[in-house]
Symmetry: C2
Subunit: 346 residues, 2 copies
């Protein structure tokens, strides 16, 4: 993609100098800034604090985190400790474990002296793999969207939740890949963008869609029901953080409510995710751990103050109790189709 005229991806690395750079997504949509990671701790902190977010990008960042670790200490004990640190940052997204596990298996047989270079090469391959996967998801998803050509005049009206766009990946996006493919193919689309409290990743999606010139409308998460019920949505398309063996889908909290509304009104509900999101060791969604995050995500809002500078504001003044589950599980029977790099599964 291209941001302010500069072609870029969400993550870049210099293996010789030994750094990785990611976009600090906690500052978006207010400010676009790169942050440089020098150590595996930096990488773990970036994932934990959600400077990087989105299951695919978390996986690739963790891969680069292991490369940073291998540069500092290529011993097996060092790599295992780094892998455990990274795997513990976010419990729900499974791509993280898939990326780290695969890379670790690849490094283990090598002599310590050869691990660092192999780790950087492996991380770069994870990044390239992600881009290719998302292109394929876009292609398969586009075929699906073409089949939804509206019976009435006007654009195809899609709805998404959270951000599963290029910001959530190395490039291209998962749920937004078919949207971008559709726009590129000349299909008229318009996207309802759900705010996605408490972290407001919908604002990232609106920012992305603005840059890609895809028509969109921001809504409160609460508005999904009335829009779906009054025939203003042709399909909902979301990403996934983990898919169980039976097809149950863990994704950003609030996804399940949209799936329920789709089922009640015969609106297709699509999930777009790489095959690496499927966790065959989880029989059903009940086995997927749901991350509980801190209450300050509800209490503090980041925005622009009167002077136009990014600032936090305290929305909830007292220290009253807050619960903040970050994901929910949509049962397989509510998922109309799963779009992966291999095709569409109904």
């Amino acid at each position: 993609v291209d941001v302010n005229g500069v072609p870029t991806r969400t993550i870049r690395a210099d293996p010789v100098a030994g750094w990785v750079e990611v976009i600090d997504q906690t500052l978006l949509p207010h400010r676009f800034e790169w942050v440089r990671l020098h150590t595996v701790d930096d990488a773990a902190n970036a994932i934990r604090s959600m400077q990087v977010r989105g299951a695919p990008l978390i996986g690739v960042t963790a891969g680069y985190g292991l490369a940073l670790a291998a540069s500092a200490d290529p011993s097996e004990a060092g790599l295992v400790a780094a892998a455990e640190l990274l795997a513990g940052t976010r419990p729900t997204a499974v791509n993280l474990r898939w990326a780290i596990g695969g890379l670790l298996e690849r490094l283990r047989p090598l002599t310590p002296a050869r691990r660092s270079e192999a780790a950087w090469r492996g991380a770069a391959e994870l990044a390239e793999h992600d881009v290719a996967v998302n292109q394929a998801i876009g292609r398969h998803g586009l075929a699906l969207l073409r089949g939804l050509t509206p019976r009435r005049p006007g654009p195809l009206r899609l709805m998404t939740h959270c951000n599963a766009g290029w910001l959530a990946t190395v490039d291209g996006g998962t749920a937004l890949a078919p949207v971008y493919a559709a726009a590129a193919a000349g299909l008229q689309v318009r996207v309802w963008v759900s705010e996605t409290r408490p972290r407001n990743q919908g604002l990232l999606t609106a920012w992305e869609l603005s840059h890609q010139e895809v028509p969109h409308v921001l809504i409160a998460d609460n508005a999904a029901g009335v829009l779906i019920a009054t025939d203003q949505v042709d399909a909902v398309i979301v990403g996934a953080d983990r898919v169980a063996a039976n097809g149950d889908v863990a994704n950003k909290v609030g996804t399940y409510l949209k799936a329920l509304a789709c089922a009640a009104h015969q609106v297709p509900f699509y999930v777009a995710a790489p095959l690496s999101t499927i966790d065959s060791s989880c029989a059903t969604g009940a086995g997927i751990p749901i991350e509980q995050r801190g209450g300050d995500e509800l209490r503090l809002i980041r925005g622009l103050n009167a002077a136009g500078a990014p600032a936090d504001i305290r929305q909830v003044p007292d220290a009253g109790p807050v619960a903040n589950p970050a994901f929910d599980v949509t049962p397989a029977h509510l998922v109309t189709a799963l779009i992966t790099e291999k095709g569409v599964t109904f």
Copy 2:
């Protein structure tokens, strides 16, 4: 109720001096301030800007608005113009029209000289009626909650949406009336409080429950699905802005999504509202107008700045398009029971 040691209601009036005072709810939970209304325009503005909100309180405020109008111009033309102004402030809540219509019918047969006094008396009676209705709702709702005594140890776990507490009424609340009655009767209850974006009326509910010392936990609206699906909610209880003749319920946007989740998991979904909320002229929910409010309700967040003073912050930096439907309709078949002042209807 009692705020900071001062027993109070949400609206008070001095017919002789010719003013009405309401709590400025746009400043809550950050600051508790009364605002004085001198004219029918003041009253209309207070309703439109949501300084007063909640279907029952809107109705009573409109009644007092008509009294302010009658003091200034008791002619029939003057009263009709005032009634139209007030009725046009919020299209969805029907109590507004019920209160104004009833009061207007009562003033019409009187000579202009007698209308002002009668209007103030009528508005005060509307206020008293609301308090009595809510006490009855609390009583009937309590009986319903007693039937839900949990099978496990611990409190009855209720969930509510928006604010249908004493702030939304003259006193006592509608959806929260049974909760307060339960707490007063020594039943252990705990309330999941949904933030209720974009206007965050859940923060008013949390503030109310803190003052009444009812245990509660604030959540993002998106979290309702996972909590209901994982057996952490014994019942959902909400208010209503208008109930159609067939039992369809218009309430704050997001209500419908909670009702869908309740139905999917056999969790009771209760609506508590005065009989005046039932609009027999609306055959079904499809006939209820849904208010569309301005996009700045999503773009700007009110909170406390670093100095602890109330301030707005711009959450969405650009002028991107926003849709903001303020209500949705829950079909009657998803409503387990309707609690009114006359009893419980299943």
